[in-house]
């Protein structure tokens, strides 16, 4: 037991643990929306379009998380604006936003002669070097995301499952779309600290996709997704402390492993059911 709790005597690992819990909260709250509405590409794109915001904030000496937040919201606004033309579907709007903002980030990054450590952390993430101030902000974001999903769950479910019916109930489906994009953007910000822009969306998508294989109801799916994200995150911290592995990529690798395991279990269960009914 001591071996398991030993890492968490250190302040930086306590912060990493707290960050993992926050990731678990947004992963459970927003991950199912991304998976069920098939918005993985949108999430990935929002994560990548924050790059210019991070680089500009770095150059200006401002908060990198603030820069990322500004560009995440700008991406949401851009996608929503492009989508207002009914001839442009979501994927195309996201693609346009991505191809407009990501190259800008690459150019700005190339202009940086000596990228600092903190900038690299934002690109590739480092669970073990999270600043207390960033953690406070992400905690506020995660709690807000969870509160919004909880209070607006009926709008989100109805608009995701049956858009015309949601509109008939008096819900604005268009507003639900923008709300979902904003929730994804906010969740990406929470995950940035853990794994960076490149892998952020994996922390939202993989736990929910794994939970979908294991559950048949929405609330259990959300809870299981959160538990999977937290469990893999803690396991990655243990591996990092005891085996010297890089914690951030380890989280994503463990999540991918959990998905693979769940997929195999599901396939085995189906095969068993088929042979029982044959």
């Amino acid at each position: 037991m001591n071996t398991l709790t030993e890492p968490f005597h250190y302040a930086f690992l306590q912060r990493a643990l707290l960050e993992i819990v926050l990731v678990g909260i947004v992963s459970g709250a927003v991950g199912p929306l991304i998976v069920l509405r098939r918005l993985a590409f949108t999430g990935e794109s929002i994560a990548e379009t924050v790059l210019p915001g991070v680089v500009l904030a770095e150059a200006a000496g401002a908060s990198l998380l603030g820069g990322a937040a500004a560009f995440a919201l700008a991406t949401v606004a851009l996608i929503a604006a492009i989508e207002r033309d009914r001839r442009v579907v979501n994927d195309v709007a996201v693609g346009i936003a991505l191809s407009g903002l990501f190259p800008l980030g690459v150019i700005l990054l190339a202009l940086q002669t000596t990228p600092t450590r903190s900038l690299q952390d934002y690109l590739f993430g480092d669970l073990l070097s999270i600043a207390p101030s960033d953690l406070v902000i992400t905690a506020a974001i995660a709690i807000t995301v969870a509160a919004v999903v909880t209070t607006r769950r009926r709008l989100l479910i109805a608009a995701s499952f049956d858009r015309p019916f949601a509109e008939a109930l008096g819900f604005r489906a268009g507003r639900a779309d923008v709300l979902v994009l904003t929730l994804i953007a906010a969740s990406v910000l929470v995950c940035l600290l853990a794994v960076g822009t490149v892998l952020a969306v994996a922390l939202l998508v993989i736990p929910a996709a794994t939970a979908r294989l294991l559950t048949q109801r929405l609330v259990p799916m959300a809870l299981v997704a959160g538990v999977i994200a937290i469990s893999c995150g803690i396991a990655a911290l243990e591996l990092s402390y005891h085996a010297g592995l890089a914690a951030s990529p380890a989280v994503v690798l463990l999540l991918a492993g959990a998905f693979l395991l769940a997929a195999m279990l599901t396939a085995a269960r189906r095969a068993q059911l088929r042979s029982a009914t044959a």
Binding site: L36, D162, A168, R217
Partner: protein
């Protein structure tokens, strides 16, 4: 009789295209109104305008109640982790504040609604595991939970098996006796004639509207379908309707 819906001179345009022009009609309590017309006649536009999903370009819509709604069948979201009971409960979403749980009373009502469409034993089934006809009965049960006195059903019998079709038709008759009005769009003229008390013939504008036996005439059909249907007078009230596109073949006797 109390009017639950009054549509006056309703015009809806999408840009330059006129989807619906100067449509006027009323729906009183306990009426079953079949809305028929060719593709592009404005049936879905009319429903969306009544539901408030699109604003009228001109004219007005007066509603006594927010209508319950059964949208056209959509197989897109069958992988959603929802049971039939979960889907029916959506009908009660607006009856609870966002922080309130749906509660036992609403659950009991949802189970009653499922019983009315003959699906008590499928309450815990995943929505994606049900047949097309069963899913259509589930969304009808969901509309019942709105407790509205006016239901809008957008092609509820499309692709539905015979059992489900009969269950739905019987339920509509039962609702009529309870004073609930229904507005049903359908392409099936034989069914429309069988189940409705009134008919609304639509082809961008209202061609004819009135009690079914008066409105359902060869002349009205000719004007409504203008070339897309061949109307053959087979003597007396019998009509044979053949879609000139070559797909549908319907008999209305």
């Amino acid at each position: 009789m109390t009017d639950l819906l009054v549509v006056s001179d309703l015009t809806v345009r999408y840009g330059r295209r006129v989807a619906l022009e100067r449509a006027s009609f009323r729906v009183a309590a306990g009426e079953t109104v079949a809305v028929v017309g060719p593709n592009g006649a404005g049936k879905t536009t009319l429903f969306r305008a009544i539901l408030g999903a699109i604003g009228p370009t001109a004219g007005s819509i007066e509603l006594a109640d927010r209508p319950g709604y059964v949208p056209q069948a959509d197989d897109e979201q069958l992988d959603f982790p929802l049971t039939a009971l979960d889907v029916v409960l959506m009908g009660g979403y607006r009856r609870r504040r966002c922080w309130q749980p749906l509660g036992r009373e609403l659950r009991r009502e949802a189970l009653d609604a499922l019983a009315r469409v003959g699906l008590t034993d499928r309450a815990r089934s995943q929505i994606g595991e049900l047949s097309g006809g069963q899913r259509q009965r589930v969304v009808l049960a969901r509309a019942l939970l709105s407790r509205s006195r006016l239901l809008l059903l957008d092609e509820p019998l499309n692709g539905v098996d015979a059992t489900s079709q009969e269950v739905i038709i019987e339920l509509l008759a039962e609702l009529r006796t309870q004073g609930v009005s229904t507005l049903i769009s359908t392409h099936d003229l034989a069914i429309a004639r069988r189940i409705s008390t009134r008919m609304l013939f639509l082809s961008t504008t209202v061609i004819a509207e009135g009690p079914t036996e008066e409105a359902f005439t060869p002349d009205v059909l000719r004007r409504t379908y203008a070339g897309s249907l061949l109307v053959v007078d087979a003597g007396g009230h019998a009509l044979e309707l053949l879609e000139t596109g070559g797909h549908a073949h319907e008999h209305a006797h």
